[in-house]
Symmetry: C2
Subunit: 334 residues, 2 copies
């Protein structure tokens, strides 16, 4: 499931900017992949890219139309179909991370076949993954873990990849969720893999590499999330991480979707993740904390992070406010 | 996927008794489900049940032919097809836990449709499971966990169910693997569920129950198995166990399938399982150890178990040699 670049970002009839956050993520992290955006008349989002027709996009070399918008229920809207058909007829592939599948829409399947184009439903793995071998791989690996779901693991991982590359470190982000896959064009939506193959899928997307190379692997869920910790556990073991970065959102009142579950203590969470990770890499260490302070004002955020840094004796950063150079600094000499 | 009883156990052309261990397990744990066995001429296994023709089995009320034999590769042998077709034509359902599916054999599908019979591939879940809610359920739950895969978790669970029932305790074994499902006719093959739904599937097969009722849930894998720990983690969280029994095979030299991984220390393994289980049931405790000493002689086994019991200060039993009454004893007053 390797998507071809460059992309035309489809924003459709996004109700608000948040509905187009996938498109915004692609534009933020892979601007070089994007030739422009396509918006329907009632679209309330804007990535700032040039608005293009299908024909203009193809003329600029676009290979894949990426559905960068989500609506309630994750369905493929009737209102989008004409544009999607036009894109297929113009020779573009289509990629989607929605719950409902492109391949379940007969008109799209027929048009894709006719034009010899591909439909990528990146949420659903199409390949068979092996059972994890647990055999140590060459190269280095950093994994983001979290106190909870949706606390900024993907954002942090992409920021670390970018910072590493800007410092001349050979690094690749490895996507484990649909948004990450759409951004980079590759990866595995690990929570949709059959349970026996969770760790094996991660071994597959982060293969042997040169000794100085870093894979920056996007974490999922949390060891402390009662619904999804199995995914997290397998992801940790398959990653064989040398370094962990713990991601946290400090204003959350309970675990996401679980009103009776409170968030874990941060040191307890670090220790649990290190214990799990040591099974496949005894040398793992936690190099710092990434905090999503978007719900705090600047002063509140800074004093919270100062407090945490003193308490944990580890670098604490908000990647959005300050970048992640202090985290990458920790890896020098690893 | 509720299979109908009683069963005709199909031993086919089993190469040796071990190849028919599924049939033997059904006969051991659910003799009341079995009307007899069916063997081909070159069968080298025998459950001790009466040999029946398909017609005789149907006359005795058999509703399901259960494939109780495994061959290398888990395939459905050509040599079996005539008998399977005869069973379908006689109105029986067929159930299999093999890797290859009954529903992928066109002749069987056609015969099942013609006769309005069902084909159960119990290894492959056919229903959608929900994301786990983590909400505490009524009733009590015991979960078997292990230092490794294939150390006797199913056997121990079935022995505990039987012992509880013989003591007048209301108890049900809950199957989480294909053999357990074939034995009881119900359950979920949890390692074949999509990763997001591991814990949710276990919540579903062990629903609210009366306050004094025990579900005895079959564990899978091990938190210390680098290939499968994700399954184990989700299974623990979904079970919300009140009591854990740790299963162990003391002669194993490395983790199953992982030559470079040694077995965990038993106390470390107990502690890790309790820590994981406390997330969804803070009151969980470990009530004892079940040791599979089949590779030891009687004296060696007894002195090993004595040693372990002194070390851990918990009851240590081999269910096959001694039964599990000392484990069930621990639950009185829970």
């Amino acid at each position: 499931m390797k998507m071809e670049q460059p992309y035309l970002l489809f924003l459709g009839d996004a109700a608000d900017p948040l509905a187009a956050k996938v498109a915004q993520g692609i534009k933020t992290w892979r601007p070089e992949f994007c030739v422009g955006q396509f918006r329907l008349e009632n679209c309330n989002a804007d990535t700032g890219l040039k608005d293009l027709s299908i024909k203009q996009a193809v003329d600029l070399g676009a290979k894949t139309l990426v559905i960068g918008v989500a609506n309630r229920g994750g369905i493929i809207s009737e209102a989008w179909i004409d544009v999607l058909l036009e894109a297929l007829d113009a020779g573009m592939d289509i990629a989607s991370g929605l719950h409902n599948k492109l391949v379940d829409v007969p008109a799209l399947v027929a048009a894709a076949e006719k034009n010899d184009c591909s439909l990528f439903d990146v949420r659903y793995p199409t390949q068979q993954y092996p059972v994890a071998s647990g055999v140590k791989r060459s190269g280095k690996r950093l994994l983001t873990v979290g106190t909870d779901c949706s606390v900024g693991k993907m954002y942090t991982s992409l920021a670390i990849e970018k910072e590493m590359q800007s410092q001349g470190i050979d690094a690749d982000f490895r996507a484990t969720g649909q948004t990450g896959i759409l951004i980079t064009g590759d990866g595995v939506s690990v929570d949709c893999v059959v349970a026996d193959f969770i760790a094996g899928a991660i071994e597959e997307i982060s293969p042997d590499n040169s000794p100085e190379h870093w894979d920056v692997i996007e974490g999922q869920g949390s060891l402390f999330h009662a619904s999804f910790a199995g995914v997290t556990m397998g992801l940790i073991h398959g990653s064989q991480p040398d370094a962990l970065v713990l991601c946290h959102e400090p204003t959350r009142e309970h675990m996401r979707g679980l009103p009776t579950y409170s968030l874990p203590d941060i040191q307890t969470c670090i220790d649990a993740n290190l214990t799990a990770a040591r099974l496949t890499n005894p040398d793992v260490c936690c190099i710092g904390i990434s905090v999503n302070t978007s719900a705090m004002d600047e002063q509140e955020a800074m004093s919270y992070m100062d407090m945490l840094e003193t308490e944990l004796n580890l670098p604490v950063v908000d990647p959005f406010r300050q970048g992640v150079s202090r985290l990458v600094e920790q890896l020098k000499g690893e």
